[in-house]
Amino acid sequence: MSESASFDPPYLHPDYRSTVLRAPRRPLVRLPDEWFHHAPGPVFGRVPVAPTDSDLTRQHPGEPLGERIIITGRVLDGDGHAVPNTLVEIWQANAAGRYVDPGDDHPAPLDPNFTGAGRCLTDGEGHYRFVTVKPGAYPWRNHPNAWRPAHVHFSLFGHELVSRLVTQMYFPGDPLMPYDPILQAIPDPRGRERLVARFDIQTTEPEWALGYSWDIVLRGRSATPMDA
């Protein structure tokens, strides 16, 4: 498979209205892959990560409302190797479909016990794990009766410039997915499928939380082990 194989959406996707004035109109200048691979990622020690940052249900005195869930998976590179010790950031709406962000004017309640932002570092085998509540769907004004399917935003770094990824994770069986121009901007159904988590009874904790499993593949590859 070629290094450049991609399920990415195009920049311009007029069904998603905000792309029209923001997608670059000139062709991107293509550089050989190694120019990107040659730009190693920066040190992320500056972004503070506390152990409690990965449990979004325990960031306030009380418990948030909603369906408690666990989201876990592995971060892998293009060769299928684990990406250890890399920063994963997530953010999402609350169970009612409302973001804490002051720009969100959807008339659904804020939850005083839920912010909706989390961070963690992958472990030595590339595993990440978050505890949160399932986000609600919410309306937006892209087109008449437009609703975003429930989703969690993810931001990942990996080893190098080429591996930077911001994406969204969706939930299996969500009936809004076929109507969503952001998800549907991905032309290949296999690509869209890659953004849908799997309900996982193994991750599900009895009498506590439903489990979802979602692996993430970053572009590029891990550094070749140094010769001794």
Binding site: S6, W91, L161, V166
Partner: protein, 165 residues
């Protein structure tokens, strides 16, 4: 086994409570002689400010992140990087990698910021040579009384050059 990477989706409009962090705009303390302030505006195809953008600067050990304000303005404080060799072994002109996220960008954009006081190095930089001469100015910051000014135009006459691999 090689696998196709997970596809990209937009950062959306509502990340400001999650991604910015204290001191995130400063990769340098601002006191050292090599430290430089960079400011600019993120603009759309109607030349309107993009008030819900997020930019990141990457360069070896430096990382900084700035959301745009209602005027589309962002700023960073970084150390001016040295010339580093490219994959072909030749020295590249000092530059910063800049990544742009925004609502309406289904995938982030990657560009480079070059320094206005490096005319000789810029003239032979291998990546700048890949860019049509009349568009190179979009990658070179402007010295504005000791502050470097670098606007990012997503579209239009002065559309910034963006790179892909």
């Amino acid at each position: 086994m090689a696998d196709v990477p997970t596809p990209s989706q937009t950062v959306g409009p509502f990340f400001a409570f999650a991604l910015p962090f204290a001191g995130g705009q400063q990769a340098a303390d601002g006191a050292g002689p090599e430290s430089v302030r960079i400011q600019g505006q993120l603009l759309d195809g109607a030349d309107e400010p993009v008030p819900d953008g997020l930019l990141e600067v990457w360069q070896t050990d430096q990382f900084a992140r700035s959301q745009t304000d209602p005027e589309g303005a962002f700023h960073f404080v970084v150390r001016k990087p040295p010339a580093i060799p490219g994959p072909n072994g030749a020295l590249q002109a000092p530059h910063l990698n800049v990544i742009v996220f925004a609502r309406g960008l289904l995938k982030h954009l990657v560009t480079r910021l070059y320094f206005p006081d490096e005319a000789a190095a810029n003239a032979v930089d291998a990546v700048l040579q890949e860019v049509e001469p009349e568009r190179r100015h979009t990658l070179i910051a402007r010295d504005d009384g000791g502050v470097l000014h670098f606007d990012v135009h997503l579209q239009g006459e002065d559309e910034t050059v963006f790179f892909a691999s």
